[in-house]
Homo-oligomer: 254 residues x 2
């Protein structure tokens, strides 16, 4: 662990939220959280009363590539310093039923936070509690905001590592923007003329196979619906066009 | 494991997607996936070539309450039967760069799927591959659709259990609808008259503290922005109103 905190800035000058884990007992969970941080572009891991993190043990075993940076660069910090230095957002599965108590209510969902934190400049920390009991009411009372993941009313309690993963996934827009591993589907979607040629070819084929004239318009509408939903790439549109052309032009065996 | 597949229906008659895990080697990951299924309202777990799931071992240890139903009710199934009987959606971190190859492209994100699957009637299975290498190209070629979680371009590969958790979280609208553990914040947001009384009281207080007249309009606008963003509950609005009233009415000590 290092004494210095990460101060990487986002392109717009904001610092991405830190992730704080309070009193975890299972090193594997700390590793899982570190991995999720790396998967979704977070860097600053703060540990309050952490378990021993043996470089040969589960924390490093579960961390994936985060074993090279997020995990060894984690900072140990006291809960007091955490709430003094950061705008803290405590994550909990259990909220109060209504507004009569303030400790666990009102809450934001991770999706709410993703939208709101884009506009916030303050140094923020997402705070995750210990396995089984999470954050205590005393801890939550000292925290600035409550965040809760919508889940099944029957069993809303996520495992610590899973809760952190979902929260960081939902907040990825703060760190990654649109810069993910995924190519831009819009970019490769077939241009309209290519799709139009496909429809023209279908129209020819309907004539060729003697599809009843009164049904053709309805059939064409169905085809437009099908291909419209499928978001064809140009290559797919061209391949289909070739197939249909061959189907249209083959010698009739009637 | 049972031979019969779960056939629970959603309120609108659709069956929620099944979750299939292909050739996992770590029982703990199967348990983690079962727990995420229970957290987000999924029931039907299909296992292709699963590891031994010892009731005293990690699978049950990681499953939380899913140890009582999702995990013991899991169905063992061959990959052949899986692709024959279900509309299959294969989850992979790595897509092709563009549309020149069809095996891993185009993809949907889990958020895209959540929207699309609401309109689909077919029996669907979300298919997750083995640790480290995921689904093979041969397996992906037999699958109906590709799903990929947007993540850091630098390190987009999620752990198996974490990938399933994020996907099921994002698809929770299919199973839970709006029926989560979370109380409805809209329902408890302060009614406008309560908030208006708060602003009236602030206006009185600004007079009382001799806030410069020319600045009052701007200050009131700031206060509206602050409270507007905070989504006050009725109780908070009333508590603040009481505090401000006392501040306004206290004897001046000037």
């Amino acid at each position: 662990m290092t004494d210095e905190q990460s101060t990487r800035e986002l392109p717009d000058g904001r610092t991405p939220p830190a992730v704080a884990v309070v009193d975890a007992t299972t090193p594997g969970n700390v590793g899982t959280i570190a991995r999720a941080m790396k998967n979704f572009g977070f860097e600053e891991l703060l540990l309050v009363d952490p378990p021993e993190l043996d470089p040969e043990g589960d924390a490093y075993g579960y961390a994936g590539h985060a074993r090279d940076d997020v995990l060894p660069n984690a900072t140990e910090i006291s809960f007091d310093r955490l709430v003094e230095e950061y705008h803290t957002i405590g994550c909990t599965a259990v909220t109060n039923e209504d507004d009569r108590r303030h400790v666990r209510f009102p809450y934001s969902t991770p999706a709410d936070l993703a939208e709101r934190l884009l506009r916030v400049e303050a140094q923020t920390a997402l705070v995750f509690g210990r396995e089984r009991v999470g954050l205590t009411n005393e801890e939550l009372a000292r925290i600035d905001e409550i965040c809760s993941i919508p889940a099944s009313a029957e069993y809303p309690v996520l495992n610590l590592g899973q809760a952190a993963t979902v929260t960081l996934y939902e907040l990825r827009s703060l760190t990654l923007g649109g810069d993910t591993q995924l190519p831009d589907v819009e970019r490769v979607r077939a241009p309209e003329p290519a799709v139009d040629r496909l429809y023209d070819q279908w129209a020819d084929l309907l004539v060729e196979i003697n599809h009843p004239e009164e049904k053709r318009e309805k059939t064409m509408r169905m085809l437009r619906r099908v291909y419209g939903r499928a978001d064809l790439t140009e290559r797919e549109a061209n391949t289909l066009l070739g197939l249909l052309r061959r189907a249209t032009e083959r010698p009739a065996d009637r």
